[in-house]
Amino acid sequence: MSVVEVLFGLLGVVALGSALLVVTTRHLVHAALWLVVTLGSIAGCYLLLSAEFVAWVQVLIYVGAVVVLLLFGLMLTRAPIGASNELDSSRGQRLAAAITAAGTAAVLVTSLVDAFHGEHIDLSDDRVAGSSRTVGQAVFRGWVLPFEVLSLLLLAALVGAIVLSRRDISAGPELTRSQETGR
């Protein structure tokens, strides 16, 4: 086994362990912090797969922005600090969820092992498949149009989030009238 494989295995174990803690811990804030560990070790996996730019974007957006947003959400919904038994569903539903997850994992693992047994990713040469130069060229040559559509999506999400969270926007006169006639 090469160094890359050993490192990837270790990072994978860390990612899986902390992901399990995210879905089982009884502390809400701890779940967000374990999510940081999971996302960070996945960024390490991207680095080992020579996808450098994706790894840094993962650190910036996921660990930087998404987790902070989640912590804000926890704060604003007055999440309980400390252990809480209110976070999980009933025992029966947890059992059903575990069975579903185990079934999904079994199907995926058996079919993937059957399909890709013995295939190897060739990382031997020094080529960095995902340096910022190559990814930038790919985005702005081949994928310009989806990139622009994505900016529209972000704008729509921004406007939507503002409309949802402002208190002083109510239904206008036309909307209330149509509701009354509709009834």
């Binding site: 890359v4 797969l49 569903s89 999904t104 993937l112 498949a129 994505l150 999400a157």
Partner: protein, 120 residues
């Protein structure tokens, strides 16, 4: 590196995310589990991109797009969760039962009274 290592890691992360979505009651924890599932998918994309040595880098570019979409999704999702919390003082998912048929007649009368109050 065997292709199975990243691919199996991705599928296990996805399964853990499924467990979290189904077993958690708190809306924000469900959003976190959705993020876990999305990360599994992203890892799959990158692994196959590097394995196939795609000239257009479609896997990695698609991962970048997915990260952006996930950020938009978490922003909107949190806005909705905050709205629900503001109206109901709770972010437990199993208390949101408005789309379910009413079991008890008194609750329906209450709703009718409210509607009359709004209409008048």
């Amino acid at each position: 590196m065997p292709l199975l290592m990243p691919v199996l890691l991705a599928s296990l992360l996805f399964s853990i995310g499924i467990y979290g979505v189904l077993a958690r009651r708190n809306a924000i924890l469900v959003l976190m589990s959705v993020e876990l599932m999305l990360n599994g998918v992203n890892l799959n994309f990158v692994a196959f991109d590097v394995y196939l040595r795609d000239k257009l880098l479609s896997g990695q570019v698609f991962t970048l797009f997915l990260i952006t979409v996930a950020a938009a999704e978490i922003g909107l999702g949190l806005a909705i969760v905050l709205l629900v919390f503001r109206n109901r003082e709770s972010s437990q998912l199993d208390e949101l039962r408005d789309l379910r048929e009413e079991d008890d007649p008194p609750a329906r009368d209450q709703v009718a009274d409210d509607e009359q109050a709004v209409a008048s």
